[in-house]
């Protein structure tokens, strides 16, 4: 039910947008920068983590500032992990999780949640499928019940399967097939940049594969992947811990334990030479270009350094690529991207790309864009970043971390807690993010850039404009 692509905005995007000049800029008299103030307290999110006997991991994070709460269940089955020859199945199945259970007929799930003032959604990402409800906190017990109910007793009929196959096909059309730059670069770039099928297939699904899905396959998928030991439950916000734990035991601990499915081998071979790919978009009026690099393994010093490289190069109006390609050269009005286009630098587990993309005019050639881009890349590989740039990047990250806690739906907060529990068995590491970024030195930034921002480690995807100028309405 989610838009695979658009939910990103709601999530915590450590991957942002920023810029700075590549070539020495014409520097006017510098206006005073805001003085560094005494830093406020570091992020300290309460984290209560435990496991039920059936393997379900549970994370509680209490905060009574507003009378709202959020329940989220994350299953360790993402679109890249789906079985071969059934592209799009993980996402199609996400839709089926809303279609009824032994206790609730089709439509009742929506009615119960929304009828209590709740918002709900689900989304499918690289390594997880998630479901959440954000609601006035008096409805917590009911929300736990409905999530446990579908984990225990999902009931899908042929009619509902056919209905959601229709809905998913319309989703693919509205987001990809009937849209200029649809799927660019988030859906297409990984297909060119990766070698392993799990990382390189069409995650949204070929329409024929979506049509071919059967009820038996859906049941088998549920029985395999939607087991308590393959999931995390997060409750955040305004609740009483003792009472909530009682409800969790009552609703979730009685779900039978089942074997946890193995994760397939999703490793990528080391890339040894630069790749180029080109595609024509029949609906697009202007050419576009995307560049993707494989990033360092998650939660390593290099990974945090890369997070800061992303801030310094790409996130926001103050970033180097924005200053140079947008502001100075006028090649485009926006260059955007980050680590993990469908989330952030923490909510995945496995190989990942950092990418940047832009739409440009035909009068600006791919060669010009790549030359300018490479100037910036070479600069960060050969010159240490300034302390001021590093501090600014860290301050932006701190500011975003506070927003995790200050949000009323807390979707960003529960997302990180769930992923750190699901992939690392350690949700409390949310409180160590700032400290890990703080350890990064200019030398580490340069070393990481030198190692990972090599041409042999990247894929360049160009989009040819297939739509004649003026042919539109």
């Amino acid at each position: 039910m989610s838009r695979m692509k658009l939910v990103v905005a709601a999530m915590f995007a450590l991957a942002g947008c920023a810029t700075q000049q590549a070539a020495p800029p014409p520097t006017p008299t510098p206006a005073p920068a805001p003085p560094a103030k005494a830093p406020v307290a570091a992020l300290n999110v309460p984290v209560d983590y435990y496991k039920l006997p059936n393997g379900l991991r549970v994370v509680l994070s209490e905060d009574h500032s507003v009378p709202v709460a959020t329940v989220a269940v994350y299953y360790n089955i993402g679109f890249r992990l789906e079985p071969k020859d059934r592209t799009g199945f993980a996402h199609l199945f996400e839709h089926l999780m809303f279609q009824g259970s032994a206790n609730l007929a089709k439509g009742q799930f929506f009615k119960i949640v929304q009828g209590l003032g709740g918002q709900l959604n689900g989304s499918t990402r690289f390594d997880f499928t998630n479901y959440y409800e954000a609601f006035p906190s008096n409805a917590l017990q009911t929300m736990l019940w409905v999530e446990a109910d579908r984990m225990r007793s999902l009931a899908i009929t042929q009619e509902n399967l056919v209905n959601q196959q229709g809905v998913v096909k319309e989703e693919v059309k509205v987001n990809v097939l009937n849209q200029p730059y649809g799927g660019f670069p988030w859906l297409q770039l990984p297909q060119y940049a990766n070698e392993n099928w799990y990382n390189a297939h069409n995650f949204y699904g070929d329409l024929q594969h979506i049509d071919a899905a059967t009820l038996d396959e859906a049941r088998a998928f549920f029985n395999t992947y939607y087991v308590p030991g393959n999931a995390v439950l997060v409750v955040a916000g305004d609740f009483d811990a003792a009472q909530t734990k009682g409800w969790i035991t009552q609703n979730f601990a009685t779900i039978p334990s089942r074997p946890v499915p193995p994760i397939p081998d999703i490793s990528e071979p080391q890339q040894t030479k630069e790749k180029h790919a080109s595609m024509t978009d029949a609906l697009a009026p202007r050419p576009a270009l995307a560049i993707g690099y494989h990033v360092p393994p998650r939660w390593t010093p290099e990974h945090f350094a890369f997070g800061l490289i992303d801030e310094i190069l790409l996130q926001g109006d103050a970033s180097r690529l924005h200053r140079d390609l947008v502001q100075k050269r006028g090649y485009t009005d926006d260059i955007s991207g980050g680590i993990n286009l469908l989330g952030n630098m923490f909510n995945y587990s496995g190989p990942m790309l950092w990418s940047a993309s832009l739409v440009h005019d035909p009068s600006t050639t791919d060669a010009q864009i790549m030359a300018a881009f490479d100037e910036n890349i070479e600069r960060i590989r050969t010159e240490p970043v300034t302390q001021e740039e590093l501090d600014r990047a860290r301050r932006t990250i701190r500011s975003q971390l506070y927003d995790l806690v200050g949000s009323s739906t807390r979707l960003g907060l529960v997302d990180l807690l769930a992923c750190f529990a699901l992939f690392d068995d350690d949700p409390a590491r949310i409180n160590r993010i700032e400290a890990e970024f703080a350890k990064v030195t200019p030398e580490l930034v340069q070393r990481t850039a030198r190692e990972y921002l090599r041409p042999e480690n990247r894929t360049v995807l160009t989009v040819e404009a297939g739509k004649q100028e003026g042919a539109a309405q």
């Binding site: 838009r3 700075q20 000049q21 510098p30 206006a31 920068a33 805001p34 103030k37 406020v40 507003v66 009378p67 709202v68 032994a102 206790n103 089709k106 439509g107 009742q108 009615k111 929304q114 009828g115 209590l116 003032g117 709740g118 006035p136 906190s137 008096n138 409805a139 917590l140 017990q141 009911t142 019940w145 409905v146 056919v162 809905v167 096909k169 319309e170 059309k173 509205v174 009937n178 849209q179 200029p180 305004d238 609906l283 697009a284 009026p285 202007r286 109006d317 103050a318 924005h322 200053r323 502001q327 006028g330 301050r395 932006t396 500011s399 506070y402 200050g406 009323s408 539109a472 309405q473």
Partner: protein, 465 residues
């Protein structure tokens, strides 16, 4: 929330539940009593030159959101569509004291990023920063607002960006449909003009921009909003220091669109499109009218939420669309209602028929208490959620101010929401959502869908040749 309202909520919730669980083997537990939700109380000051400032102490995290709304936008362009957008773009390109780069870096050093954009009635500047930079953020925004350099040197680049964005927008079915629909509702008025032509955009000069800025920006059109954790005295002082001496400028422009227009049906060909992009709707009463709450709840029930009638029909029953939905769009003392959907091409005519059928049903027959209560609870939940963030609260305050709504509009919202009756829903739908008065836009493959549209009964006689 007062005690009476709390009781009301408990009662409502219980009613909603009976339906939900009637056919179930096991039933979900009842919710507990609602926890009190306290709206923070805003305070507003007016400076001698007319600048208004509203403060809202809110939240627990050390951050603050600052927004400045100026009553100048598309309405004030004098026929030069997108001139207000170009101006807001150029305002970021430097001030008397800072370059564009320094502006961006100053904002980033505070932990934020400058946002600036022009809408139909207003231009807004915003910055969301760490609390320790509250006063600096006010200073930066005020400098951009009152001392923009508007450099001619950057205009060609920005125009080129806008030309590119225009060409992209004109290939997106949703943008095409939205523009055609706006023009159908507000012909000849800036609210109805979404896009300039490329030639028109090319013709704008730096003098056009400077004239637009000089004749529209000033203290009497300006309102500052501050929400979050901040030192009130410091922030107020910054506002007085940086905006207190600014020129008064004109009062807001009043230029209402013509009172009523006949409906239009527009069929726009998109050869080979696998879906048809639909807009169906009309102009309705504005947010100051007493019936607006009833109409707004009627909208939620019809198409404003996943469990709404049109959405459940097109999506969950038919499987023809992914995210159909309806909404009320507002401008200054203006509103319109529209259902938007991207539907399977083969179901274009049938989808239009179903949309009209659902509207007619609600016009004829009041919803049950149970259905209505469920919708009210949903709206109450959204209200609590959206007023639990700095950004959400700022948005509400700015909306109230633009629409000149009474000061208790927010605090009486929930009470007014729960007072709406099933009869009022049907009365409002009957009065304001008449399918035979609705304009319709279809962007799709006309070769295959035109025949289907001709068969839609409420459109008879209205199709273009």
């Amino acid at each position: 929330m007062n005690a009476a309202l709390k009781r009301l909520l408990v009662g409502c919730v219980a009613t909603a539940f009976m339906a939900a669980t009637a056919a179930a083997q096991q039933t979900p537990p009842q919710p507990g009593p609602p926890r009190p939700f306290q709206l923070p109380t805003p305070t507003t000051i007016t400076l001698d030159n007319g600048v208004q400032a509203t403060f809202l102490d809110f939240g627990v995290v050390p951050k603050v959101s600052i927004a400045i709304a100026v009553r100048s936008g598309a309405l004030n362009e004098g026929g030069k569509t997108w001139l207000s957008d170009l101006t807001s773009e150029l305002m970021q390109e430097g001030t008397a004291g800072r370059t564009a780069e320094q502006i961006a870096q100053a904002a980033a050093l505070m932990g934020g990023q400058l946002g600036i954009g022009a809408g139909a009635d207003e231009t807004s500047l915003s910055l969301d920063v760490l609390s320790e930079y509250s006063a600096d953020a006010v200073g930066l925004l005020a400098e951009i607002l009152t001392q923009p350099k508007l450099p001619a040197s950057e205009l060609p680049r920005i125009k080129q960006n806008y030309l590119r964005n225009l060409s992209v927008a004109l290939t997106q079915p949703q943008s095409i449909a939205g523009a055609a629909f706006a023009e159908a509702l507000y012909p000849g008025h800036p609210y109805g003009k979404s896009f300039p032509t490329a030639a028109q955009l090319q013709s704008y000069t730096i003098d056009d921009i400077k004239n637009y800025y000089d004749s529209n920006f000033g203290a009497r059109r300006t309102h500052v909003y501050v929400a979050g954790k901040f030192d009130h005295a410091l922030v107020e002082k910054a506002i007085r220091d940086h905006l207190g001496q600014w020129r008064e400028g004109p009062e807001p422009l009043k230029m209402p669109p013509a009172a009523s227009v006949p409906r239009t049906v527009k069929l726009i060909d998109r050869p080979g499109a696998p879906q048809s992009t639909l807009r169906v709707g009309l102009r309705v009463i504005d947010p100051t009218q007493p019936d607006f709450m009833s109409l707004s709840v009627a909208n939620t029930l019809l198409g404003g939420v996943l469990t709404s009638r049109i959405t459940m029909n097109l999506r969950e029953a038919k499987g023809w669309a992914y995210s159909p939905g309806s909404g009320l769009g507002t401008n200054y003392h203006q509103a319109s209602w529209a259902e938007s959907a991207d539907v399977k091409a083969a179901a274009t005519g049938p989808a239009l028929t179903e949309i009209f059928k659902e509207i007619d049903l609600l016009r004829a027959q009041p919803p049950t208490e149970q259905e209505l209560t469920s919708i009210k609870n949903y709206r109450n939940g959204i209200f609590v959620m959206s007023n639990s963030t700095r950004g959400g609260l700022l948005g509400q305050l700015a909306f109230m101010s633009l629409q000149e709504l009474p000061a208790d509009w927010l605090t009486t919202f929930v009470e007014r929401l729960y007072a709406v009756t099933p009869e009022q829903i049907t009365q409002a739908t009957h009065q304001y959502l008449d399918p035979t008065k609705m304009s319709v836009v279809v962007v799709g493959d006309m070769k295959s869908v035109r025949k289907q549209i001709q068969a839609v009964q409420p459109l008879h006689g209205a199709l273009p040749k």
